[in-house]
């Protein structure tokens, strides 16, 4: 039991969790209200870091899937599925905070804006990833299918992105990553950076726990088949 609750998972999860609480305090009490959009802009500090984690998670899924197919090491698949679950949670956060912000800023819950469209598709690719895993009789086959799906998704994503960007973008232009350096006021930049760091830490902590759970599951399944399905 103690092996599962290792510091490698607990530390980032706890730090990330505490930092997320601090982040919310900053968002509500510290950061100045943005002049053009008003209060609603504060959702930005949750929305953008969540989107970052969602995309990063998909990169991890694709990478682990590719190496899993190559080397066949089960641990890589366990890492992929753990990252995918975290990625799906954060993609859901993006999809929930986006419309809330959009309702006030753009006057509509949903619009076919490229990044919105793209995030919704990402969510569905994650969904397919999990459905394929749960719909196979042999877990090994499910792992292979899911890995193929993760890679195909990653290969097609640049094209999907290009295609949806073809529609005119309603999203604000980049404010942090641009050649002349960030133009955000320091308080906003600090809050945003804390958002990135805390969400990333939280993601890795959660992924680590999920990884431990997956390992326990596989061990339990192995034990069950060894003992002929009789509980010890």
């Amino acid at each position: 039991m103690s092996r599962r609750l290792s510091w490698a998972g607990l530390l980032p999860a706890l730090t990330g969790g505490i930092m997320v609480l601090v982040l919310h305090w900053l968002v509500f009490f510290y950061v100045p209200t943005e002049a053009a959009q008003g209060l609603i802009q504060r959702i930005f500090y949750i929305h953008v870091p969540a989107a970052w984690v969602a995309f990063m998670a998909f990169g991890i899924v694709a990478l682990c899937s590719a190496v899993y197919l190559w080397l066949g090491d089960e641990r890589l698949d366990m890492a992929a599925v753990s990252a995918a679950e975290g990625g799906m949670i954060f993609t859901t956060i993006v999809l929930l905070t986006g419309p809330l912000w959009g309702r006030v800023a753009w006057g509509t819950w949903w619009t076919w804006e490229p990044r919105l469209t793209f995030t919704l598709l990402l969510w569905f690719i994650y969904l397919g990833y999990f459905m394929v895993r749960s719909a196979t009789e042999s877990p090994e086959r499910g792992r292979r299918f899911a890995a193929v799906l993760g890679i195909v998704g990653a290969v097609d994503i640049p094209l999907i992105h290009l295609s949806v960007v073809w529609f005119r973008s309603l999203h604000p232009q980049p404010v942090v990553l641009k050649p002349e350096g960030p133009t955000l006021p320091p308080e906003m930049l600090l809050t945003l950076m804390l958002g990135f760091v805390s969400f990333t830490l939280l993601f890795f902590g959660m992924t680590h726990f999920r990884y431990g759970l997956e390992r326990t599951r596989i061990e339990a399944a192995g034990r069950e088949s060894r003992d002929g399905g009789i509980e010890p």
Binding site: F124, D156, L159, S163, V164
Partner: protein
């Protein structure tokens, strides 16, 4: 050379099987005509100018008909373990995949021609002076579609959910094809010059390339036992 011969053997085998059973072609063709018929009655001609939405309807019909037919690529061979025989043969897995993509492409191209004819008839479409460019747009689009659909059909037929899983896996990845295919078709139907769709053709070609290469590279992981 040997590789191409093996590829052609798989392609030809699938086409001959289809020619003899006509199972998938007939269901896709019937679907196409009936959907065009239903679309015609679903739209109020007094409020919607059908010519304006025809390109989108045409592509969606092909996507749905294709999902219906391509989803059954491995159906016949899964009976009596026939596909195991194919896999046991010394043919490289990617040659099997490309052969199946080729056969599916030919079948879906025929369905597309039928769809063009039926939509032209029902919706009074003018295919303009350059029907071959339109055909090139359709061919590039369905090549990418068929490549993804064949790969995912192998996946979904290996699950307990079967064909019902296919759209969920396939549709999110089709966005480039639908956006550029519909837009290019729309412009050609409106009589715009071909130069205007050069970028569309490039994107459709990129989509087809990505689909064919990722499918050829990954197919062996789907079918290995």
């Amino acid at each position: 050379m040997n590789y191409l011969r093996q590829l052609r053997a798989v392609l030809w085998k699938d086409l001959v099987v289809e020619l003899r059973t006509r199972e998938r072609t007939i269901s896709m063709a019937g679907f196409t005509v009936l959907v065009a018929f239903l679309f015609n009655h679903a739209l109020d001609p007094a409020r919607v100018d059908v010519q304006d939405v025809a390109a989108g309807l045409l592509w969606m019909t092909i996507v749905f008909a294709g999902t219906l037919g391509i989803g059954r690529t491995f159906q016949l061979e899964s009976e009596d373990g026939a596909f195991h025989g194919v896999l046991m043969s010394p043919t490289p897995k990617d040659a099997i995949y490309l052969g199946k993509v080729g056969a599916n492409f030919v079948i879906l191209l025929l369905v597309t021609l039928l769809a063009l004819a039926v939509f032209g008839l029902f919706f009074h479409l003018q295919y303009g002076e350059r029907p071959l460019v339109l055909l090139l747009v359709m061919a590039l689009g369905i090549l990418g579609f068929v490549a993804f659909a064949t790969l995912f059909s192998a996946i979904s037929s290996g699950t307990v959910m079967g064909d019902t899983l296919l759209p969920i896996l396939l549709f999110p990845l089709l966005v480039p094809m639908v956006i550029y295919g519909v837009s290019a078709t729309d412009r050609l139907l409106a009589g715009r010059p071909v130069a205007e769709i050069a970028g569309h053709l490039r994107m459709l070609a990129a989509f087809a390339l990505v689909a064919v290469f990722s499918g050829a590279g990954l197919f062996r992981f789907v079918v290995e036992e």
